[in-house]
């Protein structure tokens, strides 16, 4: 009797390859390549998209050796807590060596997606020079480059389809980078430069939009005024995704009336964002398209208060994704709950990071949303206070959460009514939401919440903890129970060496672990590093000199460890010590 395995071997490789083409997720492809050697071989030659979750887990040379036909590369650099100033800027995550290797390897790179990496103008220039077919550049939370680098991309990538800049820190060199797109460039499908601070030549922008008939997504920056936006919309009624620039104008003018008309003609827009500078009196221009929106981001719009937000949102009956500031208030969220029945993702950000937050939202808003929006599966919620009762209700109403991130202004605030820890509330969430992949908890929390997480959060991949727990038991519960855990980030928790060293092999099943201001000591980190050669255990020590004779009993300020196939990295700056 032939085994299934040998039957499949009768398929020529081209057939296998064709079958694998249908596998788009990199996880599926990874799984397939583990089946047998011939599948591994077929898969690696046919893989075009490679995802590298930690740029230091592998070297570019090895990647290219395995996947010589790679066309699209995604790389992530700094740990997530770098977003909140916990990681020094020059920690690492340079893309330059990757681009150099790709150039040397004669790879036909068409797409590059980077997150939290350091990108230099030189890197961008290399990209522009050596990859004539380059089509798509997506940079998220990166820094180190200027508009000169963008100019190089614009000038040289003749078939550029996508230039998407999200939340990057870009130095503006006033070189009119956007004017560098040649007249022959008509291929743009997506252009997002919201995060740039400087001006662009408006006439160039309008001409660019006019000649790129396939443009679907356009997000401009604050330097693009409303009347320019009107002219752009008049040229591009086919847009699907729009990010406005400055949305401030006197509504009693002809410019504004024209905008209303042009907006009405944009019947394809389903995603709206921008409003970095906005006057509430201009918002009505957007009403005509509200009914078609599936995604709305008002989270950068200061000074739009609850009433005005609500007036807009109540028309958005098809909304699936909403990002707002907490100025919306609990009442406003109540209106969202009754208007947006299709809502899947909600993010409520802080409008005033330092202040009292009188307009902040509470548990009431969250409960209202959960009750009104049964399809809710992803939430990020900054709030003044929370209660167990509310969380339990939310868990009951919405068992479909994939992402649940709660952040209380005061990181250790107890249940607002009972003054108890919020263990039971979060326990209810993890118990009810069986598909939960990402969780951030906050508030007064003891080891109990981690017992619940370990017991119930079986699909959990990413967990963020701050100021929580009582003892090593907490961390141990998570490490033992969450079998699919990939990223664990912990700050200011009383977890120490016992938890860190209990199951060292666990870290090879994870992408990374971050621990800062906890109880782990140098000695324990050294032990871990010694016993696990396939982990890089890095200590970030900004203050003291790193000397060989550091006391083992001393607590470590910041530790970041990750699995890697290529040993300690060679580009670590002086304050990063790989043990």
């Amino acid at each position: 009797m032939h085994s299934f395995h040998s039957m499949l071997n009768y398929f020529p490789e081209e057939v296998l390859e064709h079958i694998f083409d249908f596998l788009t997720s990199h996880r599926d492809r990874n799984a397939v390549s583990l089946v047998c050697k011939s599948w591994y071989a077929v898969e690696r030659f046919s893989r075009e998209k490679v995802f590298v979750g930690n740029c230091y887990a592998i070297s570019p040379e090895r990647l290219i050796a395995r996947f010589p036909r790679v066309r699209s590369l995604t790389l992530k650099g700094k740990p997530h807590f770098a977003d909140f100033n916990l990681v020094p800027n020059d920690w690492g995550g340079y893309v330059q060596p990757w681009i150099e290797s790709i150039v040397r390897g004669r790879v036909n790179l068409e797409e590059l997606r980077l997150k939290r990496m350091l990108v230099s103008d030189e890197s961008l220039e290399l990209l522009a020079t050596f990859f004539p077919n380059f089509k798509s550049l997506v940079l998220v939370s990166c820094e180190g480059f200027t508009t000169d680098g963008l100019a190089a991309i614009a000038s040289n990538c003749r078939f550029l389809r996508e230039l998407d800049l999200q939340e990057n820190e870009v130095e503006d060199r006033r070189g009119q980078w956007l004017s560098c797109f040649p007249d022959s460039c008509t291929s743009l499908v997506s252009l997002n430069f919201t995060c740039l601070k400087g001006e662009v030549n408006l006439a160039s922008l309008e001409r660019l939009v006019a000649r790129c008939r396939n443009l679907r997504s356009l997000r401009v920056n604050n330097a693009v005024p409303l009347d320019a936006l009107q002219r752009i919309l008049a040229q591009a009624p086919q847009l699907v995704d729009l990010g406005t620039g400055s949305f401030v104008h006197d509504p009693d003018t002809e410019s504004y009336n024209k905008l209303e008309t042009s907006m009405q003609k944009c019947t394809s827009i389903t995603s709206l964002s921008g409003f970095l500078d906005v006057s509430a009196r201009c918002l009505p221009a957007v009403y005509p398209i509200c009914g078609q929106l599936t995604s709305l981001n008002l989270s950068y719009a200061p000074g739009i208060y609850s009433d005005e937000l609500v007036k807009l949102i109540c028309y958005c009956n098809r909304l699936e994704r909403l990002l707002v500031l907490d100025t919306i208030g609990d009442k406003g969220l109540g209106v969202v709950a009754s208007s947006c029945k299709e809502l899947q993702e909600l993010r409520v950000f802080l409008s005033d990071v330092y202040g009292i937050g009188n307009t902040a939202v509470t548990e009431e808003g969250l409960v209202a949303i959960s009750a009104g929006c049964p399809k809710l599966n992803s939430i990020l919620y900054f709030c003044q206070q929370m209660t167990n009762e509310a969380l339990i209700m939310v868990a009951k109403n919405c068992p479909n959460f994939i992402r649940f991130r709660l952040c209380t202004l005061n990181p250790t605030v107890p249940d607002a009514i009972t003054m108890q820890p919020l263990d039971e509330g979060f326990g209810a969430i993890v118990k009810s939401c069986k598909d939960l992949k990402r969780l951030s908890i906050s508030g007064l929390l003891t080891d109990q919440v981690f017992l619940y997480i370990g017991r119930y959060a079986k699909q959990l991949e990413m967990l963020s903890i701050a100021f929580a727990g009582d003892s090593d038991k907490g961390m141990l519960s998570v490490l033992n129970g969450c079998k699919k855990l990939k990223k664990l980030e912990i700050r200011d928790c009383p977890f120490g060496n016992v938890a860190l060293l209990a199951d060292m092999g666990k870290y090879e099943t994870m992408r990374s672990l971050w621990m800062s201001s906890c109880e782990v000591t140098f000695g324990a980190c050294k032990t871990l590093a010694q016993k696990m050669p396939r982990l890089n255990v890095e200590i970030i020590n900004e203050n003291d000199q790193i000397e060989a004779s550091v006391d083992d009993k001393q607590k470590v300020e910041k530790m970041y460890l990750y699995r890697t196939l290529v040993g300690p990295r060679k580009d670590a700056p002086g304050f990063v010590w790989t043990l």
């Binding site: 807590f81 977003d83 909140f84 100033n85 916990l86 020094p88 800027n89 020059d90 939370s141 939340e167 820190e169 601070k197 920056n221 604050n222 005024p225 401030v248 104008h249 006197d250 009693d252 500078d277 509430a280 009196r281 989270s299 950068y300 719009a301 200061p302 000074g303 950000f349 802080l350 409008s351 005033d352 990071v353 330092y354 202040g355 009292i356 900054f382 003044q384 206070q385 202004l409 005061n410 990181p411 250790t412 607002a416 009514i417 009972t418 003054m419 820890p421 003891t446 109990q448 701050a466 100021f467 727990g469 009582d470 003892s471 200011d492 009383p494 977890f495 800062s516 201001s517 300020e557």
Partner: protein, 300 residues
């Protein structure tokens, strides 16, 4: 992170912002449950002079009248780690909390009852804390209307050990708004809390722009700067009498003449300022009705 006490042998676990010697003096007093005079006057979580009782638990919804930076009412306490039940206010597990130097360091260290030295310490956050709340730099400063700018705080931050330097009041101590002047390509910023009246604002504008304006006219007319002539003062900004007039853009996007409303109201609604040539403003005459200006073009 500085500010969190490591386990100090033999002492109750408190945050380490109090020098050790000072702390040890106090601890002797506190282990007895008698109340010293000093203790009665201390700021505490409980009612003055009293100790925690279970009655506190079912109190009204926490209203937390203090701004975020003050963690008094909401400071956690340490539970007994071994038990699964949480006796909220066992006498031996709660201590009063001291506020140290309230005007500088506004935080409440958590008192922890540590029955055995092996258990870890509960952490509370002194306020404010690096990286909390977890908000990206690009999202900070939205309230000030500087939403298009990425905050310079995103530079590498060494944890600020001197908490007295951080803003702890609920209102910021300064309100900087942009101010541009016709004919001058570079804008300035002016602090409306430091210059806290219309007159002071007017003088500030003169100070900020007099030199720049002079430099502009020098370069544009190519004449040799005659230092003896001095620079012409910018005056008459508020009454229409000068060559320039001060206008502002409010929180609704409207352009308004500066000076119509009481100063405090002005500060709460102003988003940016502009110094325009009086000749460009129609209907600008003394005694004209207060109201909106409709100027051509948007204010940059």
């Amino acid at each position: 992170m500085e500010g969190y006490s490591r386990k100090v042998m033999g002492c109750p676990q408190l945050l380490d912002l109090i020098p050790k010697e000072e702390w040890q003096v106090k601890s002797a007093e506190e282990t007895s449950h008698g109340l010293s005079e000093e203790k009665k006057l201390e700021l505490r979580l409980g009612p003055p002079g009293g100790d925690w009782t279970i009655k506190q638990v079912n109190g009204p919804k926490n209203e937390s009248p203090l701004p975020f930076g003050y963690f008094t009412n909401t400071t956690p306490w340490k539970h007994q780690t071994k038990g699964t039940v949480y006796p909220l206010m066992g006498k031996e597990s709660c201590r009063t909390v001291e506020l140290q130097d309230a005007e500088k360091k506004a935080f409440s260290p958590a008192n922890t009852a540590v029955p055995n030295s092996g258990s870890a310490q509960k952490r509370t956050a002194p306020a404010p804390v690096v990286g909390w709340p977890p908000v990206r730099s690009s999202r900070k400063n939205l309230a000030n209307g500087n939403s298009s700018k990425l905050s310079s705080e995103s530079q590498s931050v060494v944890p600020n050990k001197d908490f007295s330097k951080k803003p702890i009041e609920s209102c910021p101590k300064s309100k900087f708004v942009k101010i541009n002047m016709d004919g001058v390509p570079i804008g300035r910023k002016v602090d409306l809390k430091a210059n806290d009246s219309y007159d002071k604002l007017s003088s500030a504008v003169d100070e900020l722009f007099r030199g720049l304006l002079a430099a502009q006219s020098d370069s544009s007319t190519n004449c040799i700067k005659n230092e003896e002539e001095g620079q012409k003062a910018i005056s008459g900004l508020l009454d229409g009498s000068g060559e320039y007039t001060l206008v502002y853009e409010d929180n609704e996007g409207d352009k308004m003449l500066v000076g119509d409303v009481p100063w405090d109201m002005f500060v709460s609604t102003v988003k940016r300022l502009r110094v325009l040539k009086s000749s460009e403003i129609p209907m600008l005459s003394r005694g004209s009705k207060p109201g909106k200006l409709s100027l051509n073009g948007s204010m940059k």
